[in-house]
Symmetry: C2
Subunit: 341 residues, 2 copies
């Protein structure tokens, strides 16, 4: 599976719930976005890795969707008392420990992938958690600065946490991505998978940056496994996050079909260097009218309930994705027929 933060983590919970339902013990590798990472107070903070790790390790604050349960904020308040910003981003006291361990290991020379493995020894998330890359990649967004009116590039966290994605944005730039290489295990996990799932994470700054690491898109295009995704857009808006805004920035139609076309079909010729990655695509029932358009693009599509309201509903959704993957793999699906057209 690929994963961003909250959406990917919940989808993974559904996958594990589904496995438990069937008494199955699937081996799951999760290639996680690291382009939201940043350095704060000298510490390396990896929001998506931690959201997945805390969620599956039962340490997440369920209400907030990120950070630690039973969190306190004394260090944050003290930093503010020192006048040390940013005021719009606080690290919890429990969460700080994760960043301290990570930063100390990075400083000692361990790559992020090894650090992540070490952190997961405590959390036992039940999956192999892989950063998309051990290299530093940071998404910046060019926005209209609300104070000056001038265009300015800000870290994704500033765009999202400080500005709530409410300032006009003009470009999304994953800095460093062209020089990044996939972390150890990433390409093998994709090549050896039975199924690859693309969760309803952000198609621009989560799945999009994972696909932007040279080699990963190609690995998805060439894996023998079926690749099935789930739309994070229902109707004309995202379920959570800021996909609507960022799809607009990169010129992609804000719809389940638009995102499917943006990812592209594995079966169709694509622009050179940018092969498509999808065999199948799940949209919400309200988007059923878009199914023919998606199938015409060479992607098997189904309309099912997409809302991950609880573990059971999410497990059902994952079951639908796996069902579609199975159909795609055997070539018996109606969608496959569309692909063959």
């Amino acid at each position: 599976m690929l994963s961003g933060g909250v959406g990917g983590a919940r989808f993974l919970q559904g996958l594990l719930h589904l496995a438990a339902r069937h008494g199955a013990s699937p081996r799951i590798s999760v290639v996680t976005n690291t382009a939201d990472d940043w350095w704060l107070h000298g510490l390396k903070v990896c929001p998506d890795l931690d959201t997945v790790m805390y969620t599956l390790g039962d340490g997440i604050d369920v209400e907030r969707g990120w950070g630690r349960r039973d969190e306190t904020w004394n260090a944050r308040d003290e930093l503010a008392a020192y006048g040390v910003g940013p005021a719009w981003f606080g690290l919890g006291d429990r969460d700080l420990a994760t960043h301290l361990v990570r930063t100390q290991m990075l400083d000692a020379g361990y790559p992020l992938s090894a650090v992540t493995t070490a952190l997961c020894r405590r959390w036992e998330p039940g999956v192999e958690l892989l950063p998309m890359t051990d290299d530093r990649v940071e998404t910046h967004v060019v926005v209209d600065d609300p104070d000056t009116g001038e265009q300015r590039a800000v870290h994704f966290q500033e765009y999202w946490v400080r500005h709530h994605a409410e300032v006009p944005a003009h470009a999304v730039v994953p800095i460093g991505i062209e020089d990044a290489t996939p972390a150890p295990g990433v390409l093998d996990a994709i090549a050896q998978a039975d199924v690859v799932l693309v969760p309803p994470s952000n198609p621009v700054v989560s799945v999009g940056t994972i696909l932007g690491v040279p080699g990963i898109r190609e690995a998805l295009a060439s894996t023998p496994a079926p690749v099935v995704g789930v739309s994070g857009i229902i109707g004309k808006d995202h379920v959570r996050g800021m996909a609507r805004q960022l799809l607009g920035v990169v010129g992609v139609e804000v719809s389940a079909a638009g995102v499917a076309e943006h990812y592209g079909a594995r079966s169709r010729p694509a622009e050179p260097g940018r092969p498509g990655v999808l065999d199948g695509w799940l949209v919400d029932e309200v988007d059923a009218p878009a199914l023919p358009r998606i199938e015409a693009a060479g992607i098997a599509a189904r309309a099912v309930p997409l809302w991950m309201t609880d573990a059971d509903a999410t497990a059902d959704l994952v079951g639908e994705a796996l069902g579609l993957a199975s159909q795609v793999a055997t070539g018996t699906a109606a969608g496959r027929a569309g692909t063959d057209a």
Copy 2:
């Protein structure tokens, strides 16, 4: 003033209390020991600087004598859950913020003295807080390892916080001290002082390491100001800390007179490169019998109540030290007669 941690901080409180009693606003520079500093979880921790800063800035945990009031320990507990030690040394959540700010400024290239000034902008300790040096100096103690029985050099914090100074010690080594230079302002503060006070801090690992920074002992020997100290030994033991043990390690008699002789008289010829630093010395009333011996060593001595039981008692003690300094400076003290002998 020179200062270690708790003893120096309390003595300083007494000095400020005395000043307030008289409506005076003395300009006070505090040259503080940094040889207890260490790096923990990638953060620079300066116990003595922080004890003075928190104490005078009204942020100290009074009961404990160190660290922050209303402290929580969630990050420490989480680090333990990750299996990240040492288990015997925990940083509080509020305290962590100080170390984060400090480390980030050090990483940005600011010297410790500038960082300390920046931190003090928040705490307004009412004194100029100066690290003894901007260079890295770390006291290590050679001990019998309780697990193996072998001799091993451990950081002072491990000797003190982990082993409670209860393991046999063989040497005290302030690593890096011979290459250290006094921090900006230290030598000027000593040269331009009206009075220099040496608080009842540890003569080996607090005052001793300050004096060990090349140039500081010489500055004390040559300042026109009188230099008066207060014994941290009452009877045959220290008031607080582990001076008894460490004086034994360096071969100094554990007594008020022994420590006075160890510091040495400014008026007397000393071994080359190790001039004496004291004009006057306060001992507790129980040590009055030692006064003739101290005076014979060329140091004006008085016996007064040394216990810093509360701010008033401490202010009285500081008043005695200043009184002795004044007597020494005018040459009218009986002790001065002893010095002239």
